[in-house]
Symmetry: C2
Subunit: 229 residues, 2 copies
């Protein structure tokens, strides 16, 4: 008789980083319950990509929770009146930062983890390429984990919950190399902030720039369909 | 010229505790942006009550965010297959505990606070009557505040965010006395876990028992419409 694999919740956006994170969690033997959040993004291509990635990488289950963060405004990703930046990474917090997005997503992951009796949550945050996002830093992840361990039945019953952020210190090239070695088909993933309905990428926004540069630095072919050269 | 009042987000469920919390925040001079979360509760009477309370207590604004925590199951408040407890408060975590509910609600409050440039969030958690809920304890609130101060632009830009839980150490009777002194009309509030469509209370569930006992201990008339004596 083999032991039942440990369950984990994996936050899955449909992008390159979260797909790699799912592959890492699977590689560590977890039964992966993939969670996507529809927070009022500009496009649905990313969520459709998440569904395909969950299937391709052998997730046990994939769910989408709707949360209308767009009604609060404040981000280029949820408010059409704010322009998506096109000038390369600038100092400070980018206009594409969604207020408290990772906190909301991790909180929903925590709710599901508690019901699943899972003691682990995987999230693909990365502090290197996105240093302007406060909720992508290691000290933030550590603080969320500490809070989560006071918030839940698991804490009361003495089973610590762990937030895994395996990409947090990796470069985009390192992430791509790691995922490629684990068999991730990056052609399924969508990184572009303004992908079209079929998931084709603009090639111009910061997310596209970082992705292209990452494949080049990794020395791997970029399977992305870009609308511009 | 008078200074613009400081803004705060107040989590408002429609129950007795959060109505009192809103009255306290108003009494401290805040412009109150009231936030209700529809997390798949068994009834909508509570949310309708929240709307009336926000108006009556002079909130600047009231919004409702839908989050389908019910799809995860695990609580008597969102899953009709789990019975609402009727036998008085028992040791341990009650069946009415909603997984990570306060974490999800505070996270959404944090997202809105960041967009509003509010540095304060008020929440009506109470550690005395609901000692079985892990996310109603002072150490949990402190840990959420620490996490929030690493999660947001406010943290990066050096304006600390504060989570106010003014009821956390009060008895139900103390809460009722405090709110009554601030002019809260408790006839507008709904505490019952299974109120009917018009907001009438069962009189039997734990929330009803605590509410009834609170009014009795405070020596004040209970304006609640109970369906049972």
């Amino acid at each position: 008789m083999t032991a039942r694999p440990r369950r984990t919740v994996v936050l899955l956006s449909g992008g390159l980083d979260s797909a790699t994170t799912l592959a890492i969690a699977r590689g560590e033997g977890y039964a992966c319950h993939a969670l996507s959040i529809d927070y009022g993004q500009r496009h649905v291509a990313e969520l459709e990509a998440a569904s395909r990635i969950a299937m391709a990488l052998g997730a046990a289950e994939h769910r989408v929770v709707d949360v209308d963060l767009g009604q609060f405004g404040g981000s280029a990703l949820t408010d059409r009146r704010i322009a998506v930046p096109m000038r390369g990474v600038q100092p400070g917090i980018p206009a594409t930062y969604v207020p408290a997005r990772n906190t909301v997503m991790l909180s929903l992951g925590l709710a599901w983890a508690e019901v699943l009796q899972a003691n682990d949550i995987f999230v693909g945050v990365n502090a290197v390429d996105y240093s302007g996002y406060p909720d992508c830093r290691p000290e933030y992840i550590a603080a969320f984990e500490a809070m989560a361990n006071l918030a839940t039945k698991a804490a009361v019953e003495g089973t610590p919950l762990r937030i895994h952020a395996p990409l947090i210190a990796l470069s985009k090239a390192d992430i791509i190399r790691r995922g490629a070695a684990l068999g991730v088909d990056y052609g399924l993933t969508v990184s572009c902030y303004q992908a079209d309905e079929k998931g084709a990428a603009c090639g111009l926004c910061d997310a596209c720039r970082l992705r292209r540069a990452g494949f080049a630095a990794a020395g791997l072919a970029d399977p992305t369909r870009y609308l511009t050269a």
